[in-house]
């Protein structure tokens, strides 16, 4: 079916909706097979459903990508009631069909239990994790099978494109995006409308638009889940942008480690072509636009705009100095507009509902919503979407459900390797581009890693610096050597070889790296170090002066001992210890011979009564 006009599209949409309305009251099983749920075994559950339902079942079975609550995966929803089943296993599938689908009986054990009230919550919308969110961009994921364009059309997909192509001029679109206040979601927070405007006004006939789905931030997977779960939304944003800017070719740059995203966006491009949303004379508007997928090779720096463009051209992803802007001379030296996945995915809703509506969400300087990947030492791990301006405290406690195992919150890290750690005293900070930067961190692309009292902040700084030293492309000295020297110092400190003056030296190198580096990788590389020094200086001092790791993480500074009172002399640790450093017999409490201990933590891991202490 090739749609040749907006009328064609509306007729087609009406047909889809009518067909669906007829089935609205019928039972449907929706299974999440996004990457998070797959890791938890969703494909085995999928097979079980397929087998149990058979081919000719009149029960609709549908798969989607990420719904966000990955902690509870694999997730299954029974519609039309919207019953939310979590941690579903292949073994429970026959029971789900026999009881819930066929007899409308709820299965208690599969429902989510509110940890506070211990009450089972049947409906997804009532679960605290979802309650405070505003799922403007991410919400449709749960309704869409990304391989079915009809699903996207059923939720109003490509309506914004029609509006843009047929009732707005390119200038009007740019003005709308500008006044919406949309800022880039890839990390920098640059106003999207202004970037579009510069690119559209740059001299030349050929222009490009690019979607950045490199997502190198370790611990973040928002872009991946959007791309996997709702690729048409991103494409629609790109087509609107291309029309406004005057580009006829676009690229989607996806990292190689995201095979499902590559697959789904590939299918989406093919379908959009067939139906007339891509290619020549889109919906009869006279506008032509095409999109090509380019796969990255797994380098963090490849996500940087100029490096990414070099990578698409077939070169090594090394950034270049930006005295010439990419909006004037980017890919193949042509004016190029690069935006992040989430930025593009915001465009359709802005065009559809208008800038005025959109800019009511958020704060003065940061409009709309932001998707975060809330991970680490937190009860409800997953992807969340919140209006800008929500405080970190609300995110960590109301949505995230606080810290597991009764431990104390220590810090939340935002902004990935370029960001910083925010301490408990500052939990009332709102998510807002400027407020987070002021606190020494940054919004970044949306990684939010929660740390508790058993996380060592010097170790975290060392972790990020190690990552950055490996990922630095090596082109400029300050970044290449700055990250390496900071790593060496941090490594020494964590090994108990820190000296007086190390902190000051770190600050000095950090400052130089920030000021002298070519691209933002080096320009922000010191953030993890500087922010941890700023808020957790006492932890650094404990490592350097007292040769002590207060969190009990750095192997050189801790000792493992067995509490003789608590030990039940079961022999487990003795058996597992790789260096045979543990003595004791049956009924004789175990003891660790310190000279032989390599501090691998195995004994602590296997002890059934938590008798192994770390100091």
């Amino acid at each position: 079916m090739h749609l040749k006009s907006p009328d064609d599209l509306e007729q087609f949409r009406t047909r889809i909706l009518e067909k669906r309305k007829a089935q609205d009251t019928k039972k449907r099983v929706v299974l999440c097979t996004g990457t998070g749920c797959r890791g938890a075994g969703a494909l085995d559950v999928y097979d079980a459903f397929k087998k149990a339902l058979g081919n000719k079942s009149d029960i609709e079975f549908k798969t989607t990508c990420c719904h966000g609550f990955c902690e509870r995966g694999p997730i299954t929803i029974i519609e039309p009631e919207g019953i939310f089943y979590q941690r579903v296993t292949p073994e429970t599938v026959p029971q789900i069909i026999a009881e819930t689908v066929k007899k409308d009986q709820m299965i208690e054990e599969l429902l989510y239990q509110d940890p506070q009230t211990e009450e089972a919550i049947p409906a997804e919308k009532d679960i605290p994790f979802y309650k405070k969110q505003n799922r403007l961009v991410f919400g449709h994921n749960r309704l869409i099978d990304p391989t079915q364009i009809e699903d996207y059309l059923a939720v109003g997909g490509y309506q914004a494109l029609v509006k843009a192509l047929f009732s707005m001029s390119p200038e009007e679109i740019i003005a709308e995006v500008k006044s919406s206040g949309l800022r880039g979601r890839g990390g920098g927070g640059f106003p999207a409308g202004r970037k579009w405007e510069s690119c559209s006004q740059a001299p030349g006939d050929v222009r490009y638009v690019i979607c950045n789905c490199d997502e190198g931030d370790p611990g973040a997977y928002m872009d991946r889940s959007l791309m996997e779960g709702n690729p048409h939304r991103v494409l629609e944003g790109m087509i609107i942008g291309a029309y406004a800017i005057g580009a006829h070719e676009g690229y989607v740059y996806v990292r190689h480690e995201y095979p499902l995203a590559v697959e789904n966006v590939g299918i989406a491009i093919e379908q959009a072509h067939k139906m007339g949303f891509l290619g020549e004379n889109i919906l009869g508007s006279g506008f032509d636009f095409d999109v090509t997928i380019s796969k990255g090779g797994g380098a963090f720096v490849a996500g940087e705009s100029t490096a990414l463009m070099a990578s698409i051209e077939g070169y090594v992803a090394e950034p270049r100095a930006k005295y010439i802007h990419t909006v004037e001379s980017g890919l193949w030296d042509k004016p190029t507009n690069l935006n992040n996945v989430e930025t593009w995915a915001n465009v359709p809703v802005i065009i559809e509902k208008g800038a005025e509506w959109y800019s009511k969400i958020g704060t003065e300087g940061s409009k709309g919503t932001k998707i975060f990947s809330l991970v680490g030492k937190i009860n409800n791990t997953g992807l969340i979407e919140v209006p800008m301006g929500m405080t970190l405290r609300e995110i960590v406690y109301d949505i995230g459900g606080g810290i597991p195992d009764g431990k104390r919150f220590k810090a939340v890290q935002t902004g990935g390797p370029s960001g910083g750690c925010i301490p408990e005293e500052m939990l009332d900070l709102p998510v807002d581009f400027d407020a987070l930067t002021e606190a020494g961190s940054m919004m970044g692309s949306g990684g939010m890693i929660v740390m508790d009292e058993s996380t060592c902040m010097v170790d975290v700084a060392k972790y990020f610096t190690n990552f950055l030293k490996d990922e630095s492309c090596g082109k400029c000295t300050s970044c290449r050597d700055g990250t390496l020297r900071m790593y060496e110092i941090l490594d020494r400190i964590t090994k108990g070889e820190g000296k007086e003056g190390d902190i000051e030296l770190l600050e000095e190198i950090g400052w130089t790296t920030t000021e002298a580096s070519l691209c933002a990788l080096g320009g922000t590389a010191a953030n993890p170090v500087l922010s941890t020094i700023r808020y957790f200086r006492d932890e650094y001092e404990a490592h350097i002066k007292d040769k002590r790791c207060p969190a009990g993480v750095c192997p050189a500074l801790i000792t493992y001992t067995i509490d003789a009172e608590a030990c039940i002399a079961c022999g487990k640790c003795k058996k597992e210890c790789p260096t045979k450093a543990i003595t004791g017999e049956k009924k004789v409490p175990h003891e660790i011979v310190q000279a032989k201990c390599i501090k691998c933590g195995t004994c602590k891991e296997v002890c059934p009564v938590d008798a192994v202490k770390v100091e």
């Binding site: 890791g39 075994g41 494909l43 995966g73 889940s225 963090f300 090594v316 933590g601």
Partner: protein
């Protein structure tokens, strides 16, 4: 890699030197590493200097210049996995297999690798053995899984 196989890959990418990254990715996917001989051929066919190809091959993490082992064990060292103890799992594996990340055991049985985030942070810490995800891992469980004492719940992905 045979000449015909390479031919097919080059053709798929229109014999275009700007598609070099995708070409290398396909060779890596088919051979599990980038054989030198194949790279020399690519260089001559596409008129791309061998130095440029090696520059790419050593820059990006996905490429390996040496053959990999029969089993690939990948430890996620992304931030979420790190704060949940990935370092200790990695140490255990390094000690047991006597290799560093990126290396293959002398009997060509295991290659140990690390990756920065697999997008399954909810299951942290995560270890992937031959493409199968194992979530909420402990150092001891990984080791016993490798020794075959206990088959971890296998999950397709």
């Amino acid at each position: 890699m045979t000449g015909a196989q390479l031919e097919k890959i080059l053709k798929k990418h229109d014999n275009q030197s700007s598609n070099i990254l995708a070409i290398l990715q396909d060779i890596q996917a088919s051979e599990n590493y980038l054989p030198r001989k194949t790279l020399e051929e690519v260089s001559q066919r596409l008129l791309v200097p061998l130095t440029q190809i090696y520059h790419l091959a050593t820059f990006y993490r996905t490429f390996s210049l040496t053959p990999r082992g029969r089993h690939v064990v990948t430890v996620c060292t992304g931030t979420a996995c790190h704060v949940k103890g990935a370092a200790s799992i990695l140490n255990n594996l390094e000690r047991e297999l006597k290799v560093q990340p990126g290396e293959t055991t002398t009997n060509k049985e295991y290659t140990l690798e690390t990756v920065n985030c697999l997008g399954s942070c909810a299951l942290a810490p995560l270890v992937v053995i031959d493409g199968t995800y194992h979530g909420r891992m402990l150092g001891t469980t990984v080791l016993s899984m490798l020794k075959g004492e206990k088959k971890g719940a296998s999950k397709k992905s």
